[in-house]
Each structure stands twice: as C-alpha cells, then as structure tokens.
C-alpha cells in the first residue's frame, strides 16, 4: 500500500510542477507566447520531468536495495554459530522475516532470532519513513531547481526532447538488460552448482535422481545429476509433438492458403488461432485428465501397457498446441512465394497440387525449416503440459508408452516448494535452465537466420 501511496504522491507532485512551470512560462511571456523559446507546455513538462524522474529513480533503487541492506544489517548481529552454517542461516532468516511481518508468534526459535526479527521490523519502519522524507526532498529539489531555471529564452522543448530520447534509449536497453539478467542469474547459480557437481557428470551422466540429504542426520543419498535422461525425455516428447504438428500444420497452411474458399478461411483460420491462444495449463489438464486415461484404456484393450503418464499423451497434446504455430508461420512463408512463380507453373499447365509440391513448397522450404525449428524450440521449452501430464521418473527410454520426464518438469519440481539455495538439488534447476536457455537460443538464432534469409530473397 505504501508503494501505491508513494507513487500517487510523486504523480501529484509532477502534476503540480507541470502547472507551476507552465504558469511561470506564461508569466514570463507577458501574454505573448512568441516571446518564449518554446510553448508553455514544454516548460511545464520540463519541471514535471525534473520533479518526477529523480524521485522515481530513487524509489526503484531504494526498493531494490532495501531488502539486501536490512538483511545484511540483521545478519551481522546474529551469533556466529547461526551465520556460519548456511542451512541454519536460511532457516533463521525465514523465521526473522516471519516475525518481522508479525506472523511469527507461534514460532519456537532462539531469542536472538526473535530479537533480530523485531529489529528487522524496526529497520523496515525506519527505511520506509526515511524513504518518504528523502523522496519528497528529491522531488521538491528537482522542482525548485528546474523552476528557477525557467527563463524566456530557455530551450525547454529541446531539453524535454533530449530527456525523452534518453528515456526511450533506457527503455530499449531494458530489452538487452533482461537478456543479460537471464544469462547472469542462470550462470551465477549454475556455476555454484558446478562447484558441487562435476559438469561432465551433469552433461553426460545417465542417471538423474537429485535427492540429497538436506540435514546431516538424514539417511544420506548423494544424488546423481546426469541430465541425459531428461534430455532424452524432452526430445522424445518433442519428437511426438512434431510428428503431430508438422504434417497437420503444413497441410492446414496449404489448404488454407491455396484451396480454401474465403468463407471457409474466414471461419477456420480464427478457429485454428484459438488453439494457439489456449493457455498451456489448459492443455496440461486436457492431457492429464482426458488424453492420458483414454490412451491407457485403449492400450489396455489392445493388451499394451500404457503408463498413465505416458510420453505419448503429453506429446500428442503438445503437438495439438503447436499446430497453429507451424501452420501460421508456414502460411506466412508460403504466401510470400511470389505470384509470378505460381503463374509460371499454371501457365505450363500444372495442376494446383503439382504447383504446390514442385514449385511453392521447394521455394518456401528454407522458411518452413525455420518455422519448424522455432516450433521445436517452443516444444522443448514448453512446461505446463509436461508438468501435468508427463512423469517425474527419469527413465532413459525410447518407448512412447512409458513415462519419461523432461528438463522443464525437473526445473519446476526442484523449485516448487522449499528451496535451499546451497544444495545441489535446488541449484541443479538453474543448471538445467541454463542448458534449456542455450539450446532454445541456439535454435531460435538459427531459425530466425533461416527465415530472414528467405524473406530477403523474395522481398
């Protein structure tokens, strides 16, 4: 709530600054705007920006740093026996934040921890109060400084436009920063993981069972972190999905683009697009509760033993999800094949299907390959369908009737619930995430290059 309040306060101050700046400019102009370098609006915007932007920046920085700083302060006061053991420390920190949030009455913890919790609560209050004060000071300083700078021949418009341009550059930079953020956060924890587990074992190991002892007194099992079974499972499900999505998607695109009457297209195209808009969690539910039992029962009547979390169920449904993706991308690509090529083929007396098979499809092939690669990348990264319909057991099998697990399923399983950021088990999720990111990134770069080249050819 306090955040909303602060934001509102800053917005209000901005509005005030705008009015002040504008009034001052109007006053300076003496009623004739041509005496000013810029329009009064620009002077208003100028003061508003100087009032609001530093305040906003402060707000962001403050919120980003508040947590780490207060925590560090609290930890520095804890006894060494707690801080020296990472496991204990994280338990203590949990308790402390609960106490600080006033939810910790029932906790049975050491008095130091209770005290630390209370201290954290106080620190938070101090921080919040300080933030309000500092924020107001910054905003008002910005306002008064910029207000005083307003004179008739100040180039307010140029100033405002320069600020706007920098803001826009900053916004574009966020796109880059988020990639950097992804790489760093994955790399950081993955390296942490590789300091505990040999990277070679991770990359080439054939066994995956990430159970490690959390407490020293538990029956210790070391856990093995070989990702090959996960990757094999991912590829198996992806393969099944592609076997469904590629032929159906391609033929749908061909029919839609070359044969369908405008009426049919007007209905069928949006209907296919609905398939693309259905959230993946819905597909997951469909796979787990409709398709998987159906396959299991069908298998039983045929005398096959189909696992109720078979790769087939997840793969089939994932294939359905990807159909519109393949079909709309390849439709795009095929419609870019110039009409002159079609004319050339029809002019020689080819039938429609001959034209499609011998001229359009080969011409569009690079683009279609790109589209399929993008679809593969999407299938590999798809999470909810496999979380809900594929298994957890890391079987190394090529049998689609058995249960397999995937990289994304393991990431979710490892990170939902209690997280211990010092155990190899939790950290392995980040290593898996890194692999997933690199693989999909590679596929995307490759696919986009393909598509790009293709587009240039016919533009």
């Amino acid at each position: 709530m306090s955040l909303t309040f602060l934001l509102l306060a800053v917005a209000l101050l901005c509005a005030l600054s705008f009015v002040f700046g504008r009034q001052r400019a109007i006053a300076l102009s003496g009623g004739r705007f041509s005496n000013l370098h810029s329009l009064p609006v620009h002077y208003g915007t100028y003061t508003a920006l100087w009032c609001g932007l530093p305040a906003l920046a402060l707000l962001i920085v403050w919120y980003a740093l508040q947590g780490p700083v207060t925590n560090a302060l609290v930890i520095s006061d804890l006894p060494v026996e707690i801080t020296s053991d990472p496991g204990q420390l994280s338990l203590a920190m949990n308790a402390i934040s609960l106490i600080a949030a006033d939810h910790g009455q029932h906790l049975d913890v050491a008095p130091e921890v209770v005290e630390a919790g209370n201290r954290l609560a106080i620190l938070h209050t101090i921080s919040n109060t300080a933030l309000i004060v500092v924020l107001l000071c910054v905003a008002l300083t910005g306002l008064s400084l910029s207000y005083r700078k307003i004179v008739a021949d100040m180039r307010a418009r140029n100033n405002v436009e320069r600020i706007v341009r920098y803001l826009m550059i900053g916004c574009s930079a966020i796109a880059i920063l988020s990639t950097v953020g992804i790489v760093f956060s994955l790399l950081f924890e993955a390296l942490h993981f590789f300091s505990k587990v040999n990277p070679l074992e991770f990359l080439f190991g054939l066994e995956w069972s990430p159970q490690t002892a959390i407490r020293a007194d538990q029956v210790a099992s070391d856990g093995s972190f070989g990702m090959i079974p996960l990757f094999a499972g991912t590829l198996l499900i992806t393969l099944i999905a592609m076997l469904v999505a590629v032929p159906i998607g391609l033929f749908s695109a061909i029919y839609m683009g070359e044969y369908a009457s405008p009426m049919f297209r007007a209905w069928a195209k949006p209907a296919l697009e609905i398939l693309a808009g259905v959230p993946t969690v819905v597909y997951g539910f469909f796979a787990a509760l409709t398709v998987a039992p159906f396959l299991r029962d069908t298998g039983a009547t045929l005398g096959l033993s189909v696992s109720s979390e078979s790769a087939l169920a997840a793969g089939l449904v994932m294939g359905v999800m990807i159909i519109p993706f393949v079909s709309s991308l390849s439709d795009d690509v095929m419609s870019q094949v110039p009409q002159s090529l079609r004319d050339g083929s029809y002019g020689l007396g080819a039938t429609k299907s001959e034209t499609i098979r011998h001229v359009i499809f080969p011409a569009a092939l690079p683009g279609i390959v790109g589209a399929i690669l993008l679809a593969v990348s999407r299938a590999i990264g798809e999470t909810m369908i496999v979380v809900m319909a594929a298994g957890l057991a890391a079987n190394l099998t090529a049998n689609p009737l058995q249960a397999v697990t995937t990289v994304t399923v393991q990431i979710v399983t490892l990170l939902v619930g209690d997280q211990e950021f010092d155990s190899a088990k939790t950290l392995s999720a980040f290593a898996l995430g890194l692999v997933l990111f690199l693989v999909t990134l590679g596929l995307n770069v490759f696919a986009l290059k393909f598509v790009q080249k293709y587009r240039e050819k016919y533009d």
Binding site: L341, Y346, G347, L348, G349
Partner: protein, 268 residues
C-alpha cells in the same frame, strides 16, 4: 536498325495462314467492373500478333483469357467465346491443364522456378508425362534450350540454380521452359519490359525465329517492338479492340483516329 528490321519483316514470307485462335464477343468483368468490351480478334497460325495500347487498356487481361489464366483470379467472369482450332476453350469439357499445355505463356517478369536450369525446362515435360526416359528428357531440354538460343551460354552449368542467370537469360529460359511442352501457341505478356536493350534484342530475335513453328501473341507497350517483331497488330483502348490489321498498315496508315493518336504519341 529499325529500318533493317522493317525490311526483314516485309521480306519475310507471309504465310497467310488460317485462324489459330479467335475471340468472339468477349466481355470480361472483375467483380462488377467491366474490363473487356465485346472483343473480336483472330490470331493467325504461325504469325506474331502484337497487342498494343496504353496501360490499363485490357491487352494483358485479354491475353490471359486466351489460356484461361484468369481462372486463377477470384471474381472474374467472362462471356463470349474463345476458340482454339475452332473449339471453345471455355467449354466445360475442355481441361484447363491440357489447354495450358497447348498454349504456353511467358510473363512480364522472368519467373524461373528456384530450381536448376535443367529442372526448370524439364518441369513441363515431367508434369505432363511427355517423356518415358531420362534420355528423352535430356533431348527435350537440350532442344528447347537450343531453340531459346540459350544452350551455348548454359550447357556447362545445367545443374546450377536458374536464379543465378541474368535477367535476359532468365527470360529466355522461361521461353525454353514454355517451348519444352511443345505448345501450339505461345502467349507473351510484355516479355521484354524488365530487360535491358541488349537482352531485349536477343529475345526479339528469338521471337522471330519461333514464329516458323509457333503461333505467338505478344503484349507490348513498345510500339517499336510491335513493329519489329509482329505481322499483325491489334490496338486496344479502354477495354475495347479499336483496330486490328497488318502491322505495316497499322503503323503507316491507321484507320482509327485513336490508333493514330496513340502511335504518333499523342497519348498513352
């Protein structure tokens, strides 16, 4: 040069042939808009017939009626009659695929398929099942390239992609591709408009050679070109066929005022 070709043209033996194709009372509509009005035109066997006229006059539209290419465009309706050897090509029993094999077409912009040179020429014979062996196919491809005057230039790189050829070569390849199906009529829709003068000269030469075996209809926006390559010329204006006659006569002594205005450059 123009003089020489004009000479060559008058010296050329005029096989006053019979009518190969004919349009009678042809009307064409794009949706509600009428694009062709009541066109009556005979295309003589083994002659080059040039269709000229200002842009948008319907000459290309008319050309596309002759092999039913307009069928591929939605909303086109046609009334009247177009015949090939006295058979109505819009008759229900006529098969479009077969029709287009008999009436080849070359387009405004060279449109080689993104395949090898060989496969481009072999495409027609292959889809129509005209050959039974690889040798036969080789033979057809070679003679077609030869006829298109392209063989010398490409015989060492038949397997390389056709898109690597120059514009003029591409257009001649498209002509070879059309010839490979051994059509009776070849329609050319401004075949030189995307080519430079040298390539244009080569294609024009080629057209003149092809005349001895094929009936050719060519749409052109260049009156010089019509004068150089054609024996008969038809002038279209606003969707109507204004005048048709011997090329000589059209260019030296047009009967209609509009034709006169167009060829003397008053409009167009």
């Amino acid at each position: 040069m123009a003089v020489v070709t004009a000479d060559a043209m008058t010296n050329a033996p005029h096989t006053r042939g019979k009518s190969k194709m004919a349009a009678r009372d042809l009307d064409l509509f794009y949706g509600d808009a009428q694009a062709l009005f009541n066109v009556d035109l005979d295309v003589m066997e083994r002659e080059v017939t040039a269709l000229i006229g200002p842009s948008g006059c319907g000459k290309s539209t008319f050309l596309r009626c002759l092999n039913r290419m307009n069928d591929t465009i939605d909303g086109v309706t046609i009334s009247g009659k177009v015949t090939l050897d006295d058979r109505d090509i819009y008759d229900k029993i006529i098969d479009v695929v077969q029709l287009r094999a008999r009436i080849g077409m070359v387009f405004q912009k060279p449109n080689p398929f993104p395949k090898s040179i060989f496969d481009n020429v072999a495409y027609g014979p292959r889809i129509h099942g005209l050959v039974n062996s690889r040798d036969e196919l080789d033979e057809i491809v070679m003679t077609s390239l030869e006829k298109a005057g392209l063989l010398k230039e490409v015989k060492d790189r038949l397997a390389s992609p056709a898109t690597g050829l120059s514009g003029g070569q591409q257009q001649r390849l498209c002509i070879a591709r059309a010839v490979a199906v051994s059509p009776e009529v070849i329609l050319m829709d401004e075949p030189c408009s995307a080519l430079d003068p040298i390539a244009t000269a080569k294609v024009e030469e080629l057209i003149d050679e092809l005349r001895s075996n094929y009936t050719i209809v060519i749409v052109t926006h260049s009156m010089q070109q019509a004068a150089r390559v054609s024996q008969r010329t038809a002038f279209f204006h606003l969707g109507k066929l204004v005048e048709v006659g011997e090329t000589d006569q059209i260019f030296t002594n047009p009967r209609d005022e509009r034709t006169k205005g167009y060829i003397t450059g008053r409009f167009g």
